[in-house]
C-alpha cells in the first residue's frame, strides 16, 4: 500500500494513496458498491490507546456525516463520522476483543465497517484524496502537537 507521509517529531503519519478521506479523520476504501471504513493513522495517534469501540448494527442505514459508532481511548471518547451513505453490511467484530487493532493496523485489520453504498456520487463531492488529507493533518498536527507530546 503506497502512502504519503507526514513527519512530526518522532511520529510518522501515513496516508495511503488509494483511500478517500473526510475531515473527521475517517477513511473509505471504495470497491464498486461497497465501502470499507475506518479511522486514520493520524487519529489513532491523537486518541492514544483505544480501549472500546461501539459499532452500529448490520442493516442500519446511515447518511454521510452521520455518527456511525464511537471509540473510546484512555484520553477521550469520539464519534465516528461516516464518510459515506448506505446500509451497514458488515462490522468488524474483532474490535470488541481487540480494540487496539485500530491503533496497530488502522488501514488493515483495524477497519470498522463495510457499507453498501446508496449515493456515492453525492458522497464523493464531500470526500478528499490523500494529498488534500495530508494538508488537513499538517494543520491539525501543529495544534495537536502538545497533546501528542503528553502521551
Amino acid at each position: 500500500m503506497e502512502s504519503l507521509e507526514f513527519k512530526l517529531d518522532k511520529w510518522t503519519f501515513k496516508v495511503p494513496k488509494n483511500l478517500m478521506y473526510n475531515e473527521n479523520d475517517c477513511w473509505a476504501k471504495i470497491d464498486g458498491k461497497l465501502a470499507t471504513v475506518g479511522i486514520t493513522d493520524f487519529l489513532q495517534n491523537v486518541m492514544s490507546d483505544i480501549v472500546f469501540v461501539e459499532l452500529p448494527k448490520i442493516g442500519d442505514k446511515i447518511e454521510q456525516f452521520d455518527e456511525a459508532g464511537s471509540l473510546e481511548s484512555i484520553k477521550a471518547t469520539l464519534d465516528l463520522i461516516s464518510p459515506v451513505s448506505g446500509v451497514i453490511e458488515e462490522v468488524n467484530n474483532e474490535l470488541s476483543n481487540a480494540p487496539d487493532l485500530a491503533n496497530t493496523d488502522p488501514y488493515g485489520k483495524g477497519w470498522f465497517l463495510k457499507v453498501r453504498l446508496t449515493d456515492f456520487e453525492s458522497d464523493e463531492e464531500n470526500l478528499i484524496g490523500a494529498d488534500a488529507y495530508l494538508e488537513v493533518i499538517k494543520k491539525k498536527a501543529e495544534k495537536e502537537q502538545q497533546r501528542l507530546k503528553k502521551g
Binding site: E5, F6, K7, D9, K10, W11, K149, K150
Partner: protein, 138 residues
C-alpha cells in the same frame, strides 16, 4: 515530506530500582513539558528495547541528551546500542552531590525534596539542550 525543525531527543533511564531513577523520569518530563517543549522530543527507553521504530529512527537521526539515574549508566548504554548520537549526558547522582539536602523520599513517591531535585536536573538538562542546538548550528 518532513516538517522537522532541529530537536533534541531526551532519553531517560526509566529504571525501577533506585529513587534517583524516578528523579530522572520526572526531570525528563520537566524538560519536555515545561522548560523546552518546542525543542525536545522525549524518547521512551523501553520502546528502544522493544523495537519501536519511531523511537529507534529518531534517536539515530537527532542529537540525544541522556539523563541517567546512577553510575550504571543504563540509558547511555541503551542509546549507544541503538546507534544514538549522544551529545550530552547528565547523571542525577552527580547532581545530588551538589544538592545533598534534596534526597528523594522513595522510588515510589519523591516527596517535595525529590521533586525539587528533579526540577534542578531538568533545568540543567534544558541548558544542555540549548547548547546542543547552538553547537548544531555552528
Amino acid at each position: 515530506m518532513s516538517e522537522q525543525k532541529n530537536k533534541v531527543a531526551v532519553a531517560v533511564c526509566t529504571g525501577m530500582d533506585q529513587p534517583l531513577a524516578t528523579v530522572a523520569r520526572y526531570a525528563g518530563y520537566h524538560v519536555l513539558e515545561k522548560l523546552r517543549p518546542d525543542t525536545t522530543v522525549l524518547l521512551c527507553t523501553p520502546a528502544l528495547l522493544g523495537g519501536v521504530q519511531e523511537d529507534i529512527d529518531f534517536v539515530k537521526n537527532n542529537p540525544a541528551l541522556i539523563i541517567d539515574g546512577c553510575e550504571e549508566r543504563c540509558c547511555e548504554k541503551i542509546v549507544k546500542n541503538s546507534n544514538g548520537k549522544i551529545q550530552g549526558i547528565i547523571n542525577v547522582k552527580d547532581v545530588l552531590k551538589g544538592h545533598s539536602d534534596l534526597q528523594p523520599e522513595s522510588r515510589v513517591k519523591l516527596g517535595p525534596k525529590g521533586m525539587k531535585l528533579a526540577e534542578i536536573v531538568g533545568e540543567i538538562a534544558a541548558k544542555r539542550v540549548d547548547e546542543i542546538l547552538e553547537a548544531g548550528k555552528a
